[in-house]
Amino acid sequence: MKKQVQDEQPQFYTRLPVLRAERGMSRKELAELAGVHYQTIGYLERGEYSPSLVLALRIAAALGVPLDAVFSLSPFSSMADQLYNTEGEPR
């Protein structure tokens, strides 16, 4: 998971690259849905820009997931951890 770092302090974590890749969306397509420049999606994915609440909500809506599935103040667990328990069995 990417984390936004400013003055050495993580600001937020995002799952945006994974969610976008899962949907087979290009940055340009997501940018058009969210009403921003495609570069901004890249900056968000690399954790180099903190979005406003409105933009975060628009991105979550474009991806069809709740806001807290895309952005979080604490690190996300990995997709593998969420799909499988510690023994490797499907949850």
């Binding site: 009403g35 921003v36 420049h37 570069q39 901004t40 900056y43 180099e48 820009y49 979005p51 406003s52 933009l55």
Partner: protein, 161 residues
Amino acid sequence: MTASPTYQQRRAARLDDPSMERLRNPRTRRLLAAGLILVLVAEAVLIGTAALMPVWVFVGGMLVLIVALVVNLGGLKASTRGVEELPPEVLDERQAQIRGLVYSMSYRVLSVVFVITVAVMLLAQSAWWAAPLEVMVIIPVISWQLILTIPTFVTALRMKV
């Protein structure tokens, strides 16, 4: 029915033209900025030596330099996608934030350029320098062009656009 794009939307699209992508890297931006400074210096030299040349040489030289200035500045603006000069309604929130940073930095640079311009103008008028008329033309003309281009310089050289 889709509304036709506004003038500013068309400008934004032109400045964001994907065919200009080769200009959008730090090295090319630095080269374009250096080129623009060279054009301004050449303008100052041409105005300073105007009395030594026939009028047609001066006018021809100025025309060439104006074209060079327009091409260079256009390239520099395309390299920054025009973030520094487009109005907020055609920028997204990140670009608008960059625009705000550019203007605050440009304000500081502009203040310095203004103070230097006024100081040199006052010195040029003082008895011990007695600067020729050309100097009194060069200083405001070059300062004015520099002031107009400061936001573009700041964006090209300091911002991630």
